[in-house]
């Protein structure tokens, strides 16, 4: 029962922080330097994780489909299945889970350290708003960068699938790409990218919330960082299920 009450408290806290963040986004002055810094750290710094994850996910999907479809003589359709799986589901979701683990835990560790050393109090005492200084740039950066990283992951994932399909099934790159283009519609891309916008928001807001509510010194920072990785992973996976259902109802 206590766990449920605690969870509801956290959900309320995240909702409150989200509202404060939304309000702070529209209040000048806007500090572009902070945003650019976060775009670099959260986005550019995560491209290698996104690329590696997508490359091998696309490759392993292609292996599985090529082998699984062979008895039915359908391994030629590997490109269709890989591209649909990557663009609709695995591109956005795996990118969010892995980038979220890296970026969200980083946010919690950084802001959590500032909280336990009273730097967040100092921001307020010196006349600034910690939400505007710490949370807004991170949330905006993640909302911008997650879709871009997802697009990158989509391309690389399909590329990984193509490399395997060429070797395992013996199809040409041209045939594979034709299948991808035939299969994927704008709706599929929008479906995946729209989800990644939400994932970006969840990663940043959960990382910042945990950081701002860190207590218990350096041990508390470690605990909060671990909690963030778990919270982001679960939130991304659960929200993926919900968002997928919503988008399927809207777009079919």
């Amino acid at each position: 029962m206590n766990g449920v009450v605690e969870l509801m408290g956290h959900i309320g806290g995240v909702a409150r922080l989200s509202l404060d963040t939304f309000k702070a986004v529209f209040v000048p002055p806007w500090n572009l330097d902070l945003l650019v810094d976060q775009l670099d750290r959260a986005g550019i710094g995560s491209w290698s994780i996104a690329v590696l994850t997508a490359l091998f996910t696309g490759a392993v999907m292609a292996v599985q489909f090529a082998v699984g479809l062979e008895p039915y003589g359908a391994s030629l359709y590997t490109g269709k299945l890989v591209s649909l799986g990557i663009v609709r589901e695995l591109g956005p979701t795996l990118t969010a889970v892995l980038v979220g683990g890296r970026v969200g835990s980083g946010f919690t560790a950084e802001i959590g350290s500032m909280t336990v050393t009273e730097q967040v109090d100092a921001i307020q005492a010196l006349g600034a708003d910690p939400v505007k200084k710490l949370v807004v740039p991170r949330v905006v950066a993640c909302i911008i960068m997650l879709p871009l990283l997802t697009i990158l992951a989509d391309f690389v994932g399909c590329f990984g699938g193509m490399l395997v399909a060429m070797n395992e099934v013996g199809i040409t790159p041209r045939f594979f790409l034709e299948q991808v283009i035939d299969t994927l519609g704008v709706v599929d891309l929008v479906h995946g990218l729209a989800k990644s916008v939400f994932f970006g928001y969840f990663i940043a807001i959960l990382g910042c919330y945990q950081g701002l509510h860190t207590h218990g010194g350096t041990e508390g920072v470690g605990r909060a960082t671990t909690d963030t990785v778990v919270a982001i992973s679960i939130t991304v996976l659960v929200s993926n299920f919900l968002l997928t259902n919503i988008f399927l109802k809207i777009y079919g």
Partner: protein
């Protein structure tokens, strides 16, 4: 015969009245009352966890009081709107226990931070102000250094330089001498006294260090039993009717920490 000039009672610039504060089931204050007057240095003493730092943080609303009234310069702090709160934080600065310097910024950027937040735009004026306050706290050319490369005493002094950069009327000191060597303790105490005497700054100091307390303070306030139990000149504390205060001032040889934590 001329009529005697009526004496105008001195109004406190800061006043806590009937303040209650709790963190969950942990009650910190029940009916806290305290007045602070312009230009004085008031030191709050008391056991660990009795809410000394909480008092300071409630004054600039880093923490909210659950009940009661806190006024500063005639305005109610507990219900203050953001704009008024910003103006209050321009007038009341705080030196945090660990200095709370921003690790990612240089010393100069740390000191410029409140200036920028309070509307300073001229880079040259800000740079000159940084030099001026660093001189006031007795620090040389360390503008480009990061806090990580500074000693504990230097961090405290940079924190103090940052606090006085916006020329506040009141400075709150949270354990200003904790963890410092005797030379730096004397230096920080000297700075507190100097700022009071030269700039007329009102100071509220929270400390465990009784030597520092007797060096810098005009009045002493003793936090005990969830409220301020005694206020008076530091010398009078040695003869105060409250035995636990006398022991605390003497150095606490006859008391246990549990006795203070009521």
């Amino acid at each position: 015969m001329a009529e005697p000039t009526p004496v105008t009672p001195v109004e406190p610039i800061i006043s806590f009245k009937g303040v209650n504060k709790a963190f969950g089931s942990n009650v910190i204050f029940e009916g806290l009352n305290l007045d602070i007057y312009r230009g004085e240095t008031l030191t709050i003493i008391g056991g660990s966890g009795t809410g000394k730092s909480v008092t300071l943080k409630m004054l600039i609303r880093l923490l909210r009081a659950d009940e009661g009234s806190i006024t500063a310069f005639g305005e109610e702090v507990t219900t203050m709107k953001p704009k008024a709160l910003l103006a209050l934080r321009r007038r009341i600065a705080m030196l945090f226990q660990g200095a709370a310097l921003f690790d990612s910024l240089t010393v100069a950027q740390n000191i410029k931070y409140p200036l920028i937040e309070h509307g300073w735009k001229d880079e040259d004026k800000m740079t000159a102000r940084v030099r001026e306050v660093l001189d006031q706290v007795g620090l040389g050319k360390i503008e480009d250094q990061k806090p990580a490369s500074l000693s504990g005493g230097m961090k405290k002094r940079v924190g103090l330089a940052r606090a006085i950069a916006i020329k506040p009327d009141v400075i709150l000191y949270d354990e200003p001498t904790t963890g410092l060597d005797p030379i730096n303790v004397r230096r920080i105490n000297g700075l507190i006294r100097h700022l009071q005497e030269s700039l007329g700054v009102t100071s509220i100091v929270v400390t465990h260090d009784m030597d520092s307390c007797f060096t810098v303070t005009d009045r002493l306030a003793f936090l005990y039993n969830k409220r301020i139990e005694w206020v008076g000149p530091p010398e009078a504390a040695r003869e105060a009717p409250l035995e636990i205060l006398r022991e605390f001032v003497k150095g606490g040889s006859g008391i246990l920490e549990d006795d203070l934590y009521i």
